[in-house]
Amino acid sequence: MSTYNLPKATPKLPGAPGIWLFVLLDSSIFAVLFLSFTLEKIANPETYATGMSSMDATLGSINTIILLTSSWLMALATQEVKYLSKANTRKIKLLMSAAAALGIVFIFCKVNEYVHVVGTGHTLNSSSFHMYYFVTTGLHMLHVLIGIIALGLVAGIAVKAKSENTQHAVESVATYWHMVDFLWVMIFPLFYLAVPK
């Protein structure tokens, strides 16, 4: 296992400063979505309890583990890129490719879940719960898809170049990927676990 001389802590945010504005705005939209869903859930506990009974918590748990693992791999890539002059670019590319591959597995599981939910007769207009379920998880899946493309592009172009922008690009895409992971960590208990009484 490689050892690092940890750099001194600096007040600088990782990645491009603008990515943090994006994270703030994008997360705010999801926050409004979560709040709106929770208020509806409190107002209509029976409808939401029935809706949540169509959810597969096991599949949701598997997806959570997949995204958390993917985020961990991305964190390792970010750690490696901090020492760019000594960095093993092959390792960074491998870690980022593995993170992206787990994103693809997540989408595969999610599509399977949609097929199962639709198969049991629930669609976008079935109930208020299913409206929020399909819209929220659909928007999240779109974020995963964009993240996979971004991971692929940065792994393929920026890391290869090993320029001074490489660290910036890897940290930016990692910030985005952690946000996607964080959003799922909020979605999972809200839609799969917290059944209203």
């Binding site: 603008g18 504005l21 994006f22 409004v32 976008l124 928007l139 779109l142």
Partner: protein, 240 residues
């Protein structure tokens, strides 16, 4: 040293850039306030309620929509100024500045189509059935909301050009690119309107109308300021 012709070009460029604020204020006053589309008529109104909306506010709607048609082209005039600025950042052979320009034009066409539908619904209301008016009214909204991708690509193109701009004198702050991406994301919510008649994703809902459309106008307002500032910056460089 700047020539007289270049001076004239910058003047016209600045005038085009000022079309942005004219568009924002003009549309807010004509479509939202005068036309009575703030708040908009709800998506779950019955045919009789929609008929009442058009008969009770007939003159307001016609005046508002006519003025909306007047102010809408200011958007592509402004998009032209933005596109030229993007061309400076990406170079002559760049493609993204064309997407900006075409997106600006397409957004105006989409506005024309939806407003023409609402204007048609307000004409000869005494000779139309409530069902006729409901159909035309829905048609207008289907032009207005689910066609949002034309503007979405404008926002993405804008963000990408300035994010990739590594020139010595950057024309746009870095955060503006990320802001564009976030606002483009809010536009996507409008694609959901055909699936819901009520709730937060209907055309009058929190996400589609207030966040989606609000994000669109917020982006243009912020971009207006930075685009004008960038043109002044370029002019100062050329003068020096």
């Amino acid at each position: 040293m700047i020539t007289k012709k270049q001076q004239h070009n910058f003047l016209i460029w600045k005038i085009c850039a000022l079309a942005g604020p004219v568009y924002v204020v003009g549309e807010a006053l004509s479509w939202a306030w005068l036309g009575g589309f703030l708040p908009p008529p709800a998506q779950n109104l019955s045919a009789d309620q929609v008929l009442a909306f058009y008969t009770d506010n007939n003159l307001r709607i016609r005046s508002g929509m006519m003025l909306t048609l007047f102010f809408a082209p200011f958007y592509y005039i402004w998009s032209n100024a933005v596109s030229k600025l993007m061309q400076r950042a990406e170079g002559e052979g760049g493609m993204l500045s064309n997407i900006e320009l075409m997106g600006g034009f397409a957004t105006v066409i989409v506005t024309f189509a939806s407003v023409a539908a609402w204007l048609s619904a307000s004409l000869h209301t005494d000779q139309k059935t409530a069902s006729d008016i409901l159909t035309i009214h829905d048609y207008g909204w289907m032009w207005f909301n689910p066609t949002v991708m034309v503007t979405f690509f404008q926002f993405i193109a804008f963000g990408t050009v300035f994010l990739l701009d590594n020139g010595e004198s950057r024309l746009m702050p870095d955060w503006m690119s990320w802001f564009s991406y976030a606002m483009a994301g809010t536009l996507l919510l409008a694609l959901l309107t055909p699936f819901f008649n009520e709730g937060p994703f209907a055309w009058h809902g929190l996400f589609t109308y207030y966040i989606g459309l609000g994000g669109y106008f917020l982006w243009i307002t912020v971009a207006c300021y930075y685009v004008y500032k960038a043109i002044c910056h370029l002019e100062a460089i050329e003068k020096a």
